[in-house]
């Protein structure tokens, strides 16, 4: 069988591992895991790349940030991933108890299908050319990657008991006193050491040879409200600059790069006085998103935002193995929370910028600050 062999060989991606709950990225072949919110995955380029850290800047009262954290862990449990949950205020047990249960089929698909069929019946009479246009799709369609979760139900305790989870509750850990010459806050140092030993002991490291390729699993690290006063941020003289948190993130990222692990960190950046400090933290993470909830702000009652619970800002998307990053269609995103679905959607269509469309400049203002045009109802508080 002396077949003529050439040096030319078809490129075969041998590196891609088959781990449940993961898929390779379409852009750079990076292994991705779902964040637990399918629309969140799609806006950041398909999912969270394994080996990266994602930073969620919390909304003012932290409720939606905590929710994203729960989705992240719940998705890991459904996919059979290991997890590492670190908190300083709420006990990890409490968070685990509140994890939502997964919905097997997509609840949105059934609901969305019905109105569209009725819409098709009444054909357009005047603007008939638009009839054959595809429907505007606010929320992108999901594939079988990532799950929806029902917030009204909690996860089955039997499933929870089986999962491999390491919990880190700061007050229960033995934290040494702070030395003046220590490199960082002892709480962060302890957490970093724990993560490192967990990665090494449970063979999540890419260099570990003990684990056969087939039994690889993903470690999901979730850190809640990092940088809050309960983590001891700002314990040193408040006038001097404490570089602990950026240092911690630097070390964490270095650990993640050589491990089958991804990390989701929520940080209450609204409590930091120094915006430069926030920028430093953002710089130390791969993906950065910010939640801005409407609770308490005047936007809560603004009719433009009436369908949404807050704005979703994408601050940073990683450039992994390439010079460019994934660019979402629109950066004008908003989120809304329903019992069975947390969705991130395009806030509105981008403005018409083509030459043919000549619009007066005032149009933009009308959308943002709705002026009352005589058509409002009498009882409305918004009637200025």
């Amino acid at each position: 069988m002396a077949a003529p062999t050439t040096s030319f060989r078809k490129k075969v991606s041998t590196k891609i591992l088959q781990i449940p709950g993961t898929r390779p990225s379409l852009h750079n072949n990076q292994l991705l895991i779902s964040s637990g919110v399918p629309s969140f995955d799609s806006v950041i380029g398909g999912g969270i790349a394994v080996g990266t850290a994602i930073l969620v800047e919390e909304d003012t009262y932290g409720s939606y940030g905590k929710l994203l954290l729960k989705y992240f862990i719940a998705e890991g449990i459904v996919c059979g991933h290991s997890s590492f949950l670190a908190t300083a205020d709420t006990k990890p047990d409490q968070i685990v108890k509140e994890l939502p249960s997964a919905i097997v089929d997509d609840p949105g698909a059934v609901q969305d299908a019905q109105p569209s069929s009725s819409e098709a019946d009444d054909s357009m009479k005047i603007a008939w050319r638009y009839q054959n246009m595809s429907k505007v799709q606010a929320a992108p369609v999901s594939t079988k990657f990532g799950h929806y979760f029902d917030l009204t139900k909690v996860m089955n305790p039997e499933v929870l008991a089986k999962t491999d989870m390491r919990q880190f509750y700061l007050p229960d850990e033995e934290i040494p006193d702070r030395h003046s010459n220590s490199i960082m806050n002892p709480a962060y140092q302890k957490l970093l050491q724990d993560i490192k030993s967990h990665i090494i002991n449970k063979n999540f490291s890419t260099s570990s040879s003990k684990q056969p390729q087939q039994q690889r699993n993903i470690l999901r690290i979730a850190i809640h409200s990092l940088g809050s006063p309960l983590w001891g941020e700002g314990e040193v003289n408040p006038d001097s600059y404490d570089p602990s948190l950026p240092r911690f993130l630097y070390g964490l990222r270095a650990l993640l790069r050589s491990a089958f692990a991804s990390c989701l960190i929520t940080v209450p950046t609204y409590i930091f006085n120094d915006t430069a400090f926030t920028r430093r933290i953002e710089n130390m993470c791969d993906t950065v998103v910010q939640l801005e909830s409407f609770v308490g702000s005047e936007r809560e009652t603004n009719p433009v935002y009436k369908d949404y619970h807050g704005l979703f800002h994408i601050l940073k998307i990683p450039r992994l193995n390439s010079l460019t990053c994934h660019m979402p269609d629109s950066l004008d995103l908003a989120f809304k929370l329903r019992r069975k679905k947390f969705t991130i959607e395009k806030l509105h269509l981008p403005p018409e910028l083509s030459d043919t469309a000549s619009r007066p400049q005032e149009d933009k203002d009308v959308v943002v600050k709705p002026k009352t045009v005589g058509c409002s109802t009498g009882s409305s508080k918004l009637d200025f």
Binding site: Y61, S63, A88, W128, L230, G232, E235, F384
Partner: protein
């Protein structure tokens, strides 16, 4: 909202009352302690503000015997060496653990009467951690723990109070009454366990027996109506050059109307049927000169 929190209908593990020199918040704190003390087994008041005796007299008539005062103000820096007095360099959580005893299967209310000395002598995160630890019933060893604290907001800068507010589930800011009446006003921010955040502004008064009365939500008027504006809304559909309110018959008539360039089913059908429609026919009569080929080399003619 205030009533719900006072009566316990709205669960709140920790309540912060913020006051200022303009409006004294201790009255509301006392009223809350009296109300909550009916639902708990023990009340522990840690008084940091140096007028503890006066306070104990104030409350003694209204409370059951399960109240204990802990002196945290008479010797804050340990100069006199008073035993059982909290000194600011001590760990407060340890001190509280030692002070609050025999609480197994009991419901406990812990009152920190003014956080200000702690905040002024220790770094802000320390106070946040203390409150967060005290909220945890396992630290004290009780069945449930509720924490109440007073904060003199004007003694601290804004970032400090923002950090402190973060650890409390309910924040009540006491505001001076407005000029039209004598009720005190408070801003309430309540974070539910589910993550939902509720906000309201309410007015209230406190009776000599420390009962909270006359709670009423304050409706914030965004803008006063201009003078002489009539209450009845002007009908925007009046005086229009076109008709906005069509009757069913009129709508039916409108749908019958065929506009130019309208692309209804009939025209569509017409376009599709154009090829087969019998508009005209061509009759061809071959003459002698016509070269009629019998063959069909391409085999495509139907001869």
């Amino acid at each position: 909202m205030l009533e719900n929190i006072v009566s316990g209908r709205e669960q709140s593990g920790s309540i912060l009352i913020k006051d200022s020199v303009q409006q004294y918040g201790r009255g509301l704190l006392k009223a809350l302690i009296i109300q909550v003390s009916n639902r708990v087994d023990q009340v522990h008041i840690f008084s940091f503000d140096p007028n503890a005796d006066e306070k104990s007299q104030d409350l003694s008539g209204h409370l059951q015997a399960n109240v204990q005062y802990h002196d945290c103000s008479s010797d804050p820096l340990g100069w006199e060496g008073t035993p059982d007095c909290y000194k600011l360099q001590q760990d407060f959580v340890l001190y509280a653990k030692e002070s609050v005893k025999r609480v197994k299967d009991k419901k406990v209310l812990i009152v920190l009467d003014s956080l200000s000395p702690l905040l002024l002598h220790r770094v802000t995160p320390y106070t946040c951690q203390v409150v967060s630890r005290l909220k945890d019933q396992d630290v004290i060893g009780a069945e449930s723990v509720q924490v109440m604290a007073l904060l003199h907001e004007d003694l601290h800068d804004e970032p400090t109070s923002r950090l402190v507010e973060m650890v409390f589930s309910t924040v009540v800011t006491v505001l001076p009454p407005d000029r039209t009446n004598c009720y005190a006003v408070c801003d309430i921010l309540h974070k539910k366990q589910s993550g939902k955040v509720m906000k309201s502004k309410e007015r209230f008064s406190i009776s000599p027996n420390f009962e909270i009365q006359d709670v009423e939500a304050v409706i914030i008027l965004t803008k006063r109506k201009p003078e002489g504006a009539s209450d009845t809304q002007a009908d925007p559909a009046a005086n229009l050059t076109f008709n906005l309110s069509l009757t069913d018959a009129e709508k039916e008539a409108r749908s019958q109307l065929k506009l130019p360039y309208m692309h209804d089913d009939e025209t569509k059908h017409g376009i599709l049927q154009k090829g087969t429609a019998v508009h005209s026919k061509i009759f061809y009569q071959p003459d002698e000169a016509d070269d009629f080929d019998e063959e069909d080399p391409d085999d495509d003619l139907d001869i």
